[in-house]
Symmetry: C2
Subunit: 524 residues, 2 copies
């Protein structure tokens, strides 16, 4: 199951669509379309690209290889779009009356506000990291030492934190015991031979760490009560007791918010990767390849079709500037496209109007001390809770340094909407109050924060396109064909929504389509 499946169980997943033959497999090598030869190349042909996010920069980079003259118009003063690493000095003022924020993290500390991990099978993303010399490191996605915390439940295990490893080891133990019992008693109507049943019971004994009577009575896999005996010297640690099966079943940890996503989701199974130093290493590497091609602080105001191509009006230094080109690659997120004055067709405009975007937010919290490492032994990974903070992410870099920034919430939908509606100060207060239920060290160690709500972030106004079957069927197709000489790219034009791989693959698709069309022209 994909991450998106968990977030929106009704939408068709990338995975299933790949399976149904509706997607191209991601290529894993440099993109080398023929620049010469049978086809005339793109030399001198002008392409205007809207947006210096990954899709726009990839399109400019690849079109540049083919000889096209690209200009990227970028509303922000930075590239990367939703690939945004928050560091000391990062500034933002959200729409809807947000207060200006300036990040005051210490030097070297950061969090990835948007894209934050790369699945090991996103070959295209990995290919661009390689091609652009962006060094990667392991992103510790599934840390068994992180916590689950069910707030407001009624069982014995509610309103207290539990190590994920305790939950996993106990549930593996009890389910192995129950199945082993069913097999022992031959009560199960199944097709296995006696020998195979023996093998299965053997498997269960190891899987659950059952005793010789095939019972689960706890396991040293859960670790030890070392800290319960702080006297040191000869004072011993003691083996922990398992939680009771009934307590576990009533714990609430079987709700989707607590799911074992690191095992369940194809995109989140080990191994995940991240660029060393922050995800913005990727857009920065593209920028180096696009010197002089990106016009920053240049919000687009109008997108017009002309007889021979396109005309774009943008603002720059308080003035209105007009630029013309033969083609346009429009990578604007749909919430931005929706409000753009344009000659776009009705089907495209309706797609922009009706394809919903994910509401989502994060907060980075800088602490004086990496207490999650020092006190809890948590080096990276994710704590999950049903509270409004939803997830706490621990950095899997800068280990054992003096200070640290963790992601104090990563939330979605109504939780993100409610939290995003708060003032910057109130968000911080909320993140600290709820996080302190899991980490009581919060109040003593906290230094400063920076929060963001993607649906309130200028020039994005949403996390990612959030299709369901109906919107995918009704509105999506309009984005796949050029509208005159205007081509669309960005994660919203793919079944890899929310992933950087979507931006990359959509850009290649647009480049391929433009280049093929140029080839057509010259054949005539």
């Amino acid at each position: 199951m994909t991450r998106r499946d968990f977030i929106n169980a009704t939408s068709a997943s990338y995975a299933s669509l790949l399976a149904w033959g509706m997607l191209h497999p991601a290529p894993a090598s440099a993109f080398n379309l023929p620049a010469n030869g049978q086809r005339t190349d793109g030399k001198g042909r002008k392409v205007i690209i809207l947006g210096a996010g990954l899709a726009g920069m990839t399109a400019a980079y690849e079109l540049g290889k083919l000889g096209y003259e690209c200009t990227i118009l970028e509303a922000r003063s930075r590239s990367g779009g939703r690939v945004w690493t928050i560091r000391g000095g990062t500034k933002e003022t959200e729409i809807g009356g947000g207060s200006p924020q300036t990040c005051s993290f210490d030097n070297g500390h950061y969090f990835n506000g948007g894209a934050a991990r790369i699945p090991h099978h996103h070959q295209l993303t990995l290919q661009y990291c390689k091609e652009l010399n962006v060094p990667l490191q392991i992103f510790n996605g599934a840390n068994e030492s992180a916590y689950l915390y069910n707030d407001g439940g009624t069982g014995d295990l509610a309103n207290r934190r539990m190590r994920i490893s305790d939950y996993h080891n106990d549930m593996r133990g009890y389910t192995a015991e129950l199945l082993s019992k069913a097999l022992d008693q031959s009560t199960l109507d199944q097709q296995l031979t006696k020998e195979d049943v023996e093998k299965l019971i053997d498997f269960l004994k190891n899987e659950g760490d059952l005793n010789t009577a095939h019972l689960y009575k706890g396991t040293n896999r859960r670790g030890y009560k070392i800290k319960n005996d702080p006297g040191a010297g000869n004072l011993p640690g003691t083996l922990t007791d398992p939680y009771g099966l009934t307590d576990l079943l009533r714990s609430g940890f079987m709700q989707p918010v607590f799911y074992n996503v690191g095992d369940y989701a194809y995109e989140q199974q080990a191994t995940l990767l991240q660029p060393i130093g922050g995800m913005d290493a990727i857009p920065k590497a593209f920028e180096k390849k696009l010197t002089g091609k990106i016009v920053f602080n240049a919000p687009v105001k109008e997108l017009r079709k002309t007889e021979n191509g396109v005309r774009v009006i943008y603002q720059k230094d308080g003035k209105t500037v007009e630029i013309t080109g033969e083609f346009c690659v429009c990578t604007l997120p749909l919430p931005m496209l929706k409000n753009l004055e344009s000659d776009l067709s009705g089907t495209v405009k309706r797609a922009a109007d009706f394809i919903p975007y994910m509401k989502t937010g994060k907060i980075g919290l800088q602490f004086k001390r990496r207490f999650w490492e020092e006190d809890d032994g948590i080096y990276g990974g994710i704590t999950r809770t049903n509270m409004d903070i939803n997830q706490i992410w621990y950095p899997s870099f800068g280990l054992q340094e003096a200070k640290g920034v963790l992601i104090g919430y990563y939330n979605f939908y109504s939780r993100a909407e409610a939290v995003g509606a708060l003032s910057i100060t109130e968000r911080e207060k909320m993140a600290l109050a709820l996080g302190a239920k899991i980490h009581p060290q919060y109040p003593n160690e906290f230094e400063n924060s920076f929060s963001l709500a993607w649906h309130r972030t200028p020039y994005s106004e949403g996390g990612w396109a959030n299709y369901d079957d109906a919107t995918r069927k009704k509105y999506y197709p309009a984005l796949l064909e050029p509208d005159g000489n205007i081509y669309f790219a960005g994660e919203h034009t793919t079944y890899l929504t929310a992933w950087m791989a979507g931006a990359f693959t959509s850009a290649r698709r647009a480049v391929e389509a433009i280049h093929a069309r140029v080839g057509e022209y010259t054949k005539k």
Copy 2:
């Protein structure tokens, strides 16, 4: 269960001993014994330390803080002992007629020949890394994309590689289906209420990705046959089919060699860590703190008790040198102690004679291309097989670089003995031939290798002390008390055998004992 449990199921584990109160919990802060005050400190008192491995260097470092004058005698030209990172230029000639080897890895490439990972709960190891400014990174221990390979089996799944994630997802699916069926049919004599049974079935549906009829029919968690359709363009990938339960049960993957150690073993559950740049960053950091205190190339020849302390004879530059001190901390591995001329008591000598050491070996293979990443999407982690190579370790650093070094075998016991008995050339040939069954890219991409057998490595002659209940009971106690003024330290004097944490904790124990004794003296 500990790693050692898997290797030697009969030995008492650190964990269980910790539970029984036979161990101190590892402290997590700097070691600050009182250097002044009630006790007289160690100023001017001479301590001779045998061995500049982690135990010896830690003892010298901590005794130094207290004012003792330490001299470390080290037989090798390097520090670290079994903490040994193999790089270009590393030289070794094994005992028993081994040929001289010089490593020819490219600059920046390496593998850790001995200690290679740090459990997140080995607080003392982490404390020393912090105190000595050794930066850490994630060690990717449990990579679901690595392979299992059962050689020589007869089932349909023998003699072919299988992704660990396929095995896990399928077994989770089938066992969830079987237990769900037992619960549906109420055939199981258990104590759960109807409501709890419903919750458990709900859990199983998610855990196994069962369909609405509670059957496991495969899952997109297994990934997709992307590479089966290499035509790109509109050619689709296809969903993979699950393996059959019977085939899985007969696959041989339920043998211990294939165990899911990343989930089972307390020491190997996520998260594991490693120093950036190689494990020898730790001994190198100690060396900086011990300037002038280590005498290299100084093999010890005699260890004598004197009226006031100890006398040690060692060789240096072809000459015999004698040194005296008030105390000795002997960290020599028992296979070395066994052959030392000494006044040690009979009980200590018998311990050295009869405590067995693990036979174990590794080979580093440098390849032109990181095909395991590029072709297989494997970034770190461990492939497991019942062949003589036993484990293949993929580096979780230097990701996407041009070349790479992987560990082509990591084996134990009779496998290590057989492989260690081969010539350097034959080991390489064997590693390449067996590894190529799993990675057919081996022959085309191979460049060079460096292999080691710890039981044939001079000044170690074994991997680690390998106690069983009998040897622990009979011989171990002799190592815990001083023999005259000679104190013993090293992993073999702990229940943390094989781990660096054992070296650290044993050194602190010896320091504490010496310092306490000095305190006793001055009271008289």
